[in-house]
Symmetry: C2
Subunit: 93 residues, 2 copies
DNA sequence: GCTAATTTGTTCGTATGTATC
DNA sequence: CGATACATACGAACAAATTAG
């Protein structure tokens, strides 16, 4: 699966999102995964990396990853199951 | 507005929700406020207490209060505006 | 079938940024 | 301007479901 290797330049740059009205970090993750799904790189049924892996890949906290996954779940793009993981949902209609 | 004086017996009882499959704390807040809105105790345009106040009233952390408010917002029951507060939304249709 | 490891779920606390009053 | 209020973000601990061995 596509893994987006984006990393912040410095870990100390903790609130870059605010400085110049940049997108929040969790929203970047949401957009990133959404794009991958819409582009077909991530297909229905595909398993996303674990939260632990995503925190490393994106360089942000588990809190924000969970937040992003929750939003994606609300939007029906993914399904998350305790103990299993998160999976790309099958589109409706 | 209706303020529900529920408090956990002891602050140390941090994960009672799991012990016997109780509803998560944030979900209790969601249900509580939802009930008040549906019962008409909270009317459209009414301002909810601040997050700080809600943490005291419910005896849970700001994290969980924010989480609950976010869910209520997603469901269209309330509207939250930075610097202003949360307000009961006007029902659609 | 049991156990350990993995993975998500819930919860707390705290710090800093931004908008509004 | 100062106080108030929400937004974003980090880290950590423990619970519960699932999977791996």
């Amino acid at each position: 699966m596509r893994v987006l290797g984006w990393q912040p330049e410095r870990a100390d740059e903790r609130w870059p999102a605010m400085n110049h009205r940049r997108k929040p970090l969790y929203e970047q993750v949401v957009d990133d995964i959404t794009t991958s799904i819409q582009a077909g790189t991530l297909k229905p049924g595909d398993k996303l990396p674990s939260i632990a892996q995503l925190t490393v890949q994106y360089g942000i906290s588990n809190t924000m990853i969970k937040f992003a996954l929750r939003i994606l779940g609300e939007r029906g793009l993914i399904e998350t199951h305790q103990g299993k993981g998160s999976f790309v949902a099958s589109p409706p209609q």
